[in-house]
Amino acid sequence: MSPVQASCPACGAPIQFKIGSSIVVVCEYCNSVVARGDRNLEDLGKVADLVETGSPLQVGLRGIYRGVPFELTGRAQLGHPAGGLWDEWYAAFQDGRWGWLAEAQGRFYLTFPGSIPQQALIEPFDSLELGGPVRSLPLQVPLIVAEKGTARMLGAKGEIPYKITPGELYDYADLSGPHGEFATLDYSEQPPLVFIGRELHLSELGFPPDVVPPEREAHRVTAAQLNCPQCGGPLELRAPDKSERVTCPNCSSLLDVSQGKLAFLKALDPRVKPFIPLGSIGEFFGTRLMLIGFMVRSVEFEGVRYYWEEYLLYEPQTGFRWLVRSDDNWNFVETVPPASVMVSGERAVIYNGKRFKLYQDAAARVEHVYGEFYWKVMTGEVVRAADYIAPPLMLSKEESFVLQLPQPGAKDKKPKAVRAGEINWSLGTFVRPQEVERAFGISGLPRPSKVAPNQPYPYKKIYKYWGLLLLAVIAMAIVVAATTRPQKVFEQTYTLDPIKSQDDSQVRFTEPFELKGRRNIVVTAAASVDNSWVEIDGDLINQATDESEAFTLPIEYYYGVDDGESWSEGSRSPDIYLSAQPAGTYILGFEARWEKFQQPMAVTIRVEQGVFNGGYIVLVLILLSLFPIVMLIYHWRFEARRWADSDYSPYQSSS
């Protein structure tokens, strides 16, 4: 279809509908929204000029998504209920479809009008619950309500596929799926409109490589120089296209930022300052981010208020990240899609296949702010915050509340905190102070004295090594036992004549026998002792060198019955392990004494070689286990310290 040329009904300037299916076009000269009906053009009113948001996109840009070319024909800016705005770009695809490309805080979401057969059954706006599922959408992936609010049409440009009314308010709900799925319910019409798509990266849209303007690099973000309306001092906006709040570095006033203009809101405590100066650039996980904001927040437990610090980082391509300092422990934090987190029981959630345990759940209050923020932050602002841990990660949920003013004539005149607005999940990764210092090129950050909730236990590998070593020992023992061939090299029984007394003795020497080298030797002495003893003091003597190795073998065996229970102790055939000797001919000499010296005594001497000594395996297993057992105790104490500040500690007694 060829473009339709027309004149603006407000100013007469030429306007053009290039896309056959577009509904309105915004006059470039007078900002009038011109809608085309069946017969005439209709002037829907003027929209405000677009606010410069630093978007890398522009009307007229062409791209390719999943093989289908498209062109960005229009753009609208919508006001967010929490302040700020977001861009919506309208993409006319070559196959006739329209795509909605939403851009907010550096993230992009492409959706298409959904054809839902049971559209009329979509839940009413008021019945949608933050974090709750939207069951009416017949999708394979369950989506949950990530945000609900009322948007205001602020400004627009180009050709747009639906009728917009300047200043119009409409309710919307953003839905999120576990793997980047995204949908919007638009309640500007009844039944509500449904847009279904997903979050994507700019690179997936097939824009030309030069689509990202060079001025969007982090070091060029320091763009706007302004003066504080309270004290007149200079201040700098480091993310001028995103900031909604800024504090004056001269007088510590909290200022509202609205289209580049500053307005005084309140005076803040000038003594609270960040450890790391604003404007510092730090590199985390390969991305260079600028520190643009700092806030102190707190929670209260049993009457005691606990504080922590949050540092807002910004990089235009990446968006916003946080660095959180609590008890001198640090976390690098980024947001995750709400639907990617699944509840698992009362005290756990699952994210990315990993189970996170509930650590804390409390109302977090903003105590102090400094620098710039992308939402209209105020001291005293409260969100419901819950932390779940799976070291070194921490998932944090924040649910915003809005104050609902009482209806006129209502008895209760106090505003009520109502769960509304947004539910945000963020993923924190534990970073050591040294890493923060390295990232910013600074030094002197205080070291933590407490274990952080998501601090990884540093010696977990010991357990892995322990298991591997034990397996290695057992395998080695099996191999040694299987390959050892015990060999009897000598055995003879000696009948010893009675002796004069227990101090007297009988001496015997065995016949020579051959010993091989590098094989251990086991000497066994056996006698039929019966509640008595025989002492064998022996020597294994090398016939060639006269070198001997001495040993003692006490043969004793006692038994009886005490209090009706039978017992026995000792052995009638004790043995002793001797180290391997040089190969050669040996004899064994021994001197025997025995308790019943008046009677003859028969003693059997046996010599074996290459006998598997299982005692060493037990010894090695004990040696290998000593340190891990100590570390198990340390680990237990480490975990107890980790959970010390939690209301959900598994290490506290239930008393």
Partner: protein
């Protein structure tokens, strides 16, 4: 660091065990001495040699 130290020590222990198994060495203090043939062959020589040895226990048994 500690984990690696444990691994190294553990490997040394296992290696030590392997060495013992390969060489037929038994742990414990070896009581080595020379017992000349004339001592062994003379009547009473070995007994008197033994009675002056310091390592024999002088075990007398009994429960």
């Amino acid at each position: 660091m500690l984990s690696r130290a444990y691994l190294i020590i553990g490997l040394l222990i296992i290696g030590g065990y392997g060495l013992l198994a390969l060489t037929g060495t038994e742990l414990g203090r070896a009581h080595r001495e020379k017992i000349p043939a004339d001592v062994r062959q003379s009547p009473g020589g070995y007994r008197s040699f033994h009675s002056t040895s310091i390592w024999h226990s002088g075990f007398r048994g009994g429960k």
